[in-house]
Subunit: 365 residues, 2 copies
């Protein structure tokens, strides 16, 4: 009976094996271990197959865009301008807090390794802190550091009363246990909002997490400031990462959108995306979302920041989005550019979460 279950489970999940490049034997073994008990349902982590997207890059736009009306051009949602407005408000608040209490907010960043995209992000965050009058500290750890070294850096920042927010720059090297490390960030300093308790409180109606994850919070702010009413709209989130896709879908739902989540196992992503009034692209796949994926007039928020080699750029690469911008801007009614869209607003949200944390710590309203 039990082995029947195992075979059944293996059959049920056989279609995955091609996509995830596990042999069916390995797949069967993984599922067998967890599932062949009383239930036929497997354990969740045993079915956490990676999302591997096949992208039809639109590097040759010329032939494709012909069918679109060249006159129709989406409004560009300028993330830099919006981020500046927000940061200006934060700067005033930091000054007011300093005058009233003598304290300023402090942000600590733990950075492991030398990923150049991560370095860029961290550099931007630190620069933004300086601009807003927020103290910042970085702990740079080597690529091959131990988990204990990361946890020790965390502890030091936990104990430091001048630090109100701690972020661990992701992704971490493979040998480190990301879940364990994120679980160790104290809730009241978890300005990235990645702790599962914050995530649960984001998901559940009637609750409010201590911190909203920065990118989802930024997406909502971009929509609201662009005059987009979210309630009742169909929103499609492309990608389901723990740090962007998942929390963005949950937050859009809290704002009463009707949300669908598209991922690498979705059979007809293009068709589903085309139903959406609001498309949030967060798959991490350059140019995944083509013009044909969009309903005319849709609002497009492009979270993708994919580095592509470009020797002509300062750091040897440039960032492009998940959305084929040239095509999409002819179909959408509004779109965020990459760079200059979600990125700057995400950084502003990090500053804001740090400010809110400091206000909470110093009981300053």
């Amino acid at each position: 009976m039990q082995s029947d279950h195992c075979v059944h489970m293996a059959l049920l999940y056989k279609s995955l094996s091609r996509k995830v490049l596990l042999t069916s034997a390995a797949m069967k073994r993984r599922i067998t271990t967890d599932a062949c008990q009383i239930l036929m349902s497997p354990s969740l982590t045993s079915i956490d197959f990676p999302d591997i997207w096949t992208s039809s890059s639109c590097s040759d736009y010329s032939s494709i865009t012909k069918s679109y009306d060249d006159q129709q051009t989406a409004t560009v949602i300028d993330g830099r301008v919006i981020a500046e407005e927000i940061t200006s408000g934060i700067t005033s608040e930091v000054r007011r807090m300093k005058n009233a209490t003598g304290n300023i907010p402090g942000l600590a960043v733990i950075m492991v390794g030398q990923r150049r995209d991560s370095q860029t992000y961290v550099r931007n965050k630190i620069a933004a802190c300086e601009e807003a009058g927020i103290k910042s500290e970085i702990s740079n750890l080597p690529e091959d550091c131990t988990e204990d070294q990361v946890l020790n850096a965390l502890s030091r920042f936990h104990e430091d009363p001048s630090i109100h927010g701690i972020l661990v720059q992701l992704p971490l090297p493979q040998h480190l246990d990301e879940s364990k490390i994120l679980n160790s960030v104290h809730l009241e300093k978890d300005v990235d909002g990645f702790h599962p308790l914050n995530m649960g409180n984001l998901a559940m109606r009637g609750r409010e997490p201590l911190f909203l994850p920065c990118t989802p919070k930024g997406c909502i702010e971009l929509l609201i400031r662009s005059g987009v009413e979210i309630t009742g709209k169909r929103a499609v989130v492309i990608g389901r990462s723990n740090i962007v896709g998942l929390p963005t879908s949950l937050l859009l739902q809290r704002h009463h959108a009707t949300v669908s989540i598209v991922h690498a196992f979705t059979r007809n992503p293009e068709q589903i995306a085309r139903e959406a009034d609001i498309v949030v692209a967060a798959a991490g796949v350059p140019n995944l979302v083509r013009g044909s994926w969009l309903k005319p007039g849709a609002i497009v928020i492009d979270v993708g920041t994919n580095p592509v080699e470009d020797p002509s750029c300062e750091f040897g690469y440039r960032l492009i989005g998940d959305v084929c911008y040239e095509e999409a801007s002819r179909v959408a009614s509004a779109i965020t550019p990459v760079p200059g869209g979600v990125g700057p607003v995400t950084v502003a949200m990090l500053l804001l979460n740090t400010l809110e944390s400091a206000k909470r710590a110093h009981n300053f309203a």
Copy 2:
């Protein structure tokens, strides 16, 4: 500037006011309080408007069902049979544990007030415990009890080593703070899986909650045992309650379905539901889902258990589902009945969670 924001927020959310029966002044006041800071985004709890569905009851089937082919009849997914199979496995495991360790699993139920539907559920749970050899205890508190009384009952069960699972029967009377009470259930005895940390771990890939909420876990088990492959399927969850709709949508996504969540603010629920291969109805609205909401061949899981007066029944009422069964069974390929579908399997999952908790507590594999 700030008052501009307030007006803007009020305008953005004005369309809600009709549905949620708040005056626009009250609405503006609620949103104003939380939102007119640096951001234009409101706080989440300030926009937790209730889901008020308008149901087109199908009490007069006769005229409607004529257009369906009378020959086409969905397979009935027999929740009672599946629950018996699972419970039989649990019973064996309880016996094995008792023989090996001398301990049996114990479940405690905290029941506030005298809601007759809640009484029925609790009765069923206790009876199921007895059948499986699981110890059960009930703490019956009066409708007007204080929060402290509930928390005291919780504490007693937390300290009792013979209790491995505690559930607070919902809904609680309005005067009690449900979030606070559910937060107080110790994680390792939270067999309902309603603690936000368990919910966060359910939502996030790479993580596994200590307990999956019973109804969502039961829905997945019903699908798997009915031979339904979930991966890649379009699933529509109707309703987004913290205890059913939300966790079911998260769990279906962990199983790689492409999930859309329909709620009372969804503009075209019928059209969206009709795209689904798997429909989970959990709105708590009798007969909300008509035959016309279903794609031919869809799988329908009806979580609704709506009591309707019926003097001919033992307790003066009977339960009907969220799905108009007579219509749906002519369109769907498989459907769960109410009663006898999700209900018994939910109870079996509660027993299983309690068993797993006891095994964990006594380090018994």
